[in-house]
Symmetry: C2
Subunit: 282 residues, 2 copies
Amino acid sequence: MSTQQQAQKAEQLRKLHHGPRILTLPNAWDVASARVVEELGYPAIATTSAGVAFALGYPDGQQISRDEMLDMVSRIANAVRVPVTADMEAGYGTTVDDMADTAKAIVAAGAVGLNLEDVTGPDASSHVDSNLQVEKIRTIRKVSASLGVSLVINARTDIYLMPIGPEETRFERTVQRLRAYREAGADCLFAPGLRDADTIAKLVKALDAPLNILVNAGSPSLKELEKMGVARASTGSAAMRATLGLLRRVGKELLDTGTYNSGLDGAIPFAEVNKLLEPRNR
Amino acid sequence: MSTQQQAQKAEQLRKLHHGPRILTLPNAWDVASARVVEELGYPAIATTSAGVAFALGYPDGQQISRDEMLDMVSRIANAVRVPVTADMEAGYGTTVDDMADTAKAIVAAGAVGLNLEDVTGPDASSHVDSNLQVEKIRTIRKVSASLGVSLVINARTDIYLMPIGPEETRFERTVQRLRAYREAGADCLFAPGLRDADTIAKLVKALDAPLNILVNAGSPSLKELEKMGVARASTGSAAMRATLGLLRRVGKELLDTGTYNSGLDGAIPFAEVNKLLEPRNR
């Protein structure tokens, strides 16, 4: 892929945040899952860092290396035709210089966007100082633009997800953080952990910028989210963990009764998966 | 893992082919799937080469490199405590010397067994000469033993799967091949594509050696296979392709109705998957 083609894909992904329809991303964790999602007609592929980490043998939370994460991202970017955005946890590093390296590595991997969290560890004590996070976002914008591929930055705060700090100030702190991230150059703002419809609607209004909501069984429907003005919805690691749930049911049935009724018959036929993975001219 | 520990695991896996119960292996394709299977109580992990290839972006049929295949095998072997046997297609090479390299690489990856097919390409024309296949098996036995880890060899003929040659001689050619592979040192013989109960029972008697049958929705139950004397049953890529089927249903529902009822609620909880992937003292 030429730099020009990659830059076009970045613009394509950026525009999808401003269309009439909500941008829906069932996150992929390997090449097969990415190809299945692409084949359904999704206009972009977003990875789940937790899913990639699980597949490669790590728990979530920056235990995997940047190189290993991007190796899978690069395999996906090479296999699909649509834009790919990489979930990069907190950027695999703590400094602004680390983020410069991360931006370069993302572009080299063939991705055109990223998710960037504002916690670097397993608890609230690792919440990155807001000014530092702003500098990180600015650096990614600047470095990637200098390479000719201005990455689509989805800046995330983990205030609701973790959660961080007292409940009564959660909403305002989220707004403050996300506004600062937007001013630093983020294209989209991400508040995982937020599932209450009224609060989501309120946040959309308070931000006046594309907002990403993490969805799962029990979330407001995509139509409802779209009506509220949510720009992007993603499933995070849910679909990957759902597949592990299916494997567990299949494996348990084999152990318990020695039969095959737990979903093997819902498999995509071998020849069809094989064809999905055939190299394609791009 | 010391060589001694690895050798013990090989003997552990070998013995499982001679127990009172059929050795059942729901094949894994990445670390998360392997840990789910191990956690259910399975005594060994077998990989599916097609599943690993799909996950990493290749169609089946030795399109992936030996190193990439074994990188995933090694990740799995590092993450589980039970013995791991690697599906190595036709051994990633065509010569006896290639098999020596493959045997060394399998041992280095921490696996203690392998599947070895007798076709190297997409059609019957690539059916390996029986004498050459025998030499390959002997070499793997000899080289791995010289390293202190005598690999558990599951020697496969693709006569039924592909299928190869006229139907009326299929059974006898299968018996001839598999007997020759057994004499060359194979621990278990594998005839994928064979699903008819009577023929399976006949093959068990004709071979007088551990036999592996590929199972899927519609196969005789594990109890029936056990009663016939089948030593080992594996699902091949079926479980992996079933998970892709689930992802497709989830993704299609998101597109069509914007809802989340196709199986996301059957997901293993995030904290539980995270814990499955925690590093463990072994």
